[in-house]
Symmetry: C2
């Protein structure tokens, strides 16, 4: 054996590095490296916690990838959710090969890249279940899994050191709407042949039993369709295409026209319809501006805003601030989505507003109108049992969930070696087994991407260097009953060069805010969460247009 | 009939005004008025939303009561929870008669009044179930109900216009730990005789079925006691005395000593023990400072901090910042409390820290170790069925829950007249029926009550007049990995008279903050929620001690 031969494998054993999504929710990304070749699985974003004022998106710090510069042979995307594909535009410059994904996933990535002015062209390579692509010393095999969006893939990577499986987000939907079940047969086959390591979704390990089929919501919605005299308005995630299909089918059956309302939902439904992943009879669909032309009992609206986001469709409808759609007595509004932790109060506010309008607000505590897309405890155990891995590494979750998933794997088989890793840990597999070998400096990068509704108008900023354009803290005291300003808006600033122009600019701000307030209803003015969002958007637009500056705007709303 | 006779009843028919807690959660308070006499039911606080920066407590605006000045014959307290008794000190000056409540309720009110320097003395009048007191034209009858704290009472008020029933917070615990069940017999009897109006708790109307008995958690805890080799740490609300009793009984059975940790839990357990509402064998109890002297397997800690409050016992233990108690491998930490909406992320953070310590964090998704104290849907329907009221008014809930409770009552009997009221509505009952007659200006008052841990050291401020002592916005940029300040703390102020002294004071602030930061662990420094709380407490203390000022402190923590 020559010295080179002896060194090569010793220098580059199989290493797996969770770049994001392990020890936290969102921004999923994992690097697999062996023998000088690397592949990235997913490139997701995270939605920021409320503490991260002024930040719109969070992505993993990509300097972790520096060691593999020039050797990342491909980016594999498991499915089209933001926490798996939202950072592709940022990651792509560091990838040397193609981007692999299912047809739907790639169709959702395309427009994102265009927004950032990136022409990916033939770098986007469509793959199908059971297909395999070779990337250096790795063979990447794609496996069908079910989830809340169609066309999802898990990944099995065949390496010289053994096979590793990454489940992606999954559940075991035994009666999928599109007839494409999770590929349990191939998981079992790989399990029989021997799997070195399983990396599995921990999102819902704290839910007992099975998640259930997307089909399970049909009965609950049927009850609503058959008993509602007015409009039916359903809010779900923009990418909940299975849910939309259920609703469209019921609308056809119960003779209601369908309006899809809100940009995100319109975009993703158009993409899915183009690819045949969402089927809507042509005569059925109407525009949101046409809703008023139909009797209430003939309309179904599918809306964005399930998390209570103040500027999305349903929250605006709820406070009677939508251009086209009004709700009232006899109408039913259904929340068909999970509540992302941290959004509970905003969602509750929207439900209160709906009830005040006289409409009936229904969520999953009243009817079975939502199923999760993530495996429950029994499904998680089943996959561990089928795959029988030597090593088990829980991913996609905060630390408490990884720890619980780890306990679960030990209950399935005490023989399984569990590795509790976090972002930045380098998990090495070699003749000595699997273990955390070293730790890289992982981290997060904050993106401030104010949109004005125009595609291409998103501007990115790296918030690691803070408040480069200054900091503006508008302080508003609003009467919680009448919604009027109790005192003139105060403006606290930092980091502004005060010249004549800036001074004039700052003097205009109270007037701008008062002007905005006049256009709002009392309900809007007395909703502090909504006001904060409005004030921020208004002042960011003001400073950008009038001074070309992008200060960090941190509104302080005091109810008095 | 003389003119006076003819006028008296016409001038003052039966009116009920929800002062707080109807259309919102917390600060429960209701006024009942007839023939020139009035009685108040409960005087509660609300814990503020995160948007209400710098505010510690919220109470109803008591100017609503002005019309009844000199005619409020008594204050009736249903039970000892803060959202029912927390505002007694503020309300008492407006009450002309005694304060009625059960022994436990009054024992919990007493120290509160002392803190505010109020000597209530013989104004506190103990009542028992089935007892009646006469207040002007009203006879107030007390009925036993079960809830998560012992000694709870519902109220039936016999008036010339008819009987009204206020359920208070309740559930129907069929096997109560203290053998004191909800008085269904008397509710049925009153129902048979005819009830004018029922005011019922809407908190959990969106939960199907029955809440369950406090006894239901025993099996889940037994599993934990019999399988845990290390310390058992349980966090619950300070007033969850039934839960504490279950834990103490199991500790006795499994031979563990009990340490009650955290001021709130210590105080309420001492009161309850004194009154025989909590029974603990003398040899069983140890102090938190003694925990380290016992082997882990011999200890049970009952802690405050179930909502992830940064300065409470468990959250400090979780980040290894408690003077006496440490957790690690083999220890089990149980969250035996509901998650108050808005606290989910703070609780999740504490669970993550616990898992990182190597201990196992268990909540009610894993084992049945919590039951609610509020009636579920079936219990709510049962009470409506038994009472058969002419009018039904849902209370204790946000609007969507009131609306749902109202739909439920209509399902029980279409003959029931439902009145959907909100705070400040004057509900009048007369020969024309029951309806919202007029609306008073209801509102909220914000209380900033910084404590330094000393009884009597709480200072109250009415925040209706904002920022009278100035506004301080410390802006900190903290590295989310290392926890170091990435730039010197910035201090933005408003409303300070800048003289030599103030200037010197403000210059000291960065040093104060840096000094505080040095004493914190990396885990603390990288927890933005906790940092915000710490910075606020530190600067409030600083300004109070050094300048006798109490500015509003609104920390902005930016993770970088």
């Amino acid at each position: 054996m020559s010295q080179a031969d002896a060194n090569a494998p010793a220098l580059s054993p199989l290493e797996v590095i969770p770049v994001g999504g392990v020890g936290e929710f969102g921004m999923n990304m994992m690097l697999v490296s062996v023998g000088g070749d690397a592949v990235l699985i997913d490139a997701g974003v995270m939605f920021p916690e409320p503490e991260l004022l002024g930040v719109d998106l969070v992505i993993p710090d990509l300097t972790v990838l520096d060691e593999w510069r020039g050797r990342i042979r491909g980016l594999v995307l498991t499915h089209g959710h933001e926490d798996h594909i939202g950072a592709v535009a940022h990651v792509l410059p560091r990838v040397d090969g193609p981007v692999y994904g299912s047809a739907l996933t790639l169709a959702m990535v395309g427009p994102k890249l265009e927004e950032y002015g990136i022409k990916a062209g033939d770098r986007l390579v469509e793959v199908r279940p059971r297909e395999t692509v070779t990337l250096g010393q790795m063979r990447v095999e794609f496996l069908r899994v079910t989830h809340s969006i169609p066309d999802c893939l898990a990944v099995a990577i065949h390496t010289p050191a053994g096979v590793i499986i990454h489940t992606a987000d999954f559940k075991i939907d035994q009666t999928p709407l599109d007839g494409e079940p999770t590929d349990l047969h191939r998981l079992a086959e790989l399990g029989s042949q021997g799997v070195l390591a399983l990396f599995a979704d921990s999102t819902n390990v704290d839910r007992p039993g099975f998640a259930g089929s997307e089909r399970d919501v049909i009965a609950g919605f049927e009850e609503i369709f058959s008993s509602t005299a007015g409009k039916i308005v359903v809010t779900c995630f923009s990418t909940s295409l299975h849910r939309m299909q259920v609703l469209i089918d019921l609308a056809a059956q119960f003779d209601r026209r369908v309006a899809i309302v809100g940009r995100g939902a319109v975009n993703s439904s158009e993409i899915a319809m183009r690819l045949g992943r969402l089927r809507m009879p042509t005569h059925l669909q109407i525009k949101d501006s046409d809703v008023r032309d139909f009797p209430s009992q003939d309309v179904l609206c599918i809306c964005t805003g399930s998390q209570g986001e103040p500027m999305a469709a349903l929250p605006r409808i709820a406070i009677d601030d939508h251009r086209h759609i009004k709700i009232g007595d006899g109408d039913v509004v259904v929340f068909s989505a999970r509540r992302i932790p941290g959004n509970e109060k905003a969602i509750a506010r929207v439900m209160n507003h709906i009830s005040r309008r006289g409409a009936t607000a229904i969520d999953d505590t009243e009817k079975h109108i939502h199923v999760s897309g993530h495996a429950g405890a029994e499904e998680s155990k089943l996959v561990i049992s089928l795959v029988r891995p030597k090593h088990f590494i829980p991913i996609h979750g905060e630390y408490r969930q990884l720890a619980r998933h780890a306990r679960m794997a030990k209950h399935v088989s005490a023989a399984i070696d569990v590795i509790l890793a976090e972002d930045g840990d380098v998990i090495r597999f070699d003749e000595e087994g699997g273990r955390i070998h070293r730790k890289l400096a992982s981290g997060r990068v904050f993106i401030d991407g104010t949109r004005t509704g125009e595609v291409g108008d998103e501007v990115l900023r790296d918030r690691r260097h803070l408040a480069g354009d200054g900091l503006v803290v508008p302080v508003l005291a609003i009467n919680s009953q009448s919604g009027v300003f109790e005192q003139a808006p105060e403006l606290i600033t930092r980091g502004f060069v005060v010249d004549a122009k800036t001074e004039g600019l700052l003097k205009d701000v109270p007037g701008v805010l008062l002007g905005m307030l006049e256009q709002l209803s009392i309900e809007e003015r007395t909703d502090p969460g909504l006001m904060k969002e409005r004030v921020r958007a208004e002042l960011q637009r003001f400073f950008r247009k009038r001074a070309g500056r992008r200060p960090l705007v941190l509104p302080v709303i005091m109810e008095v």
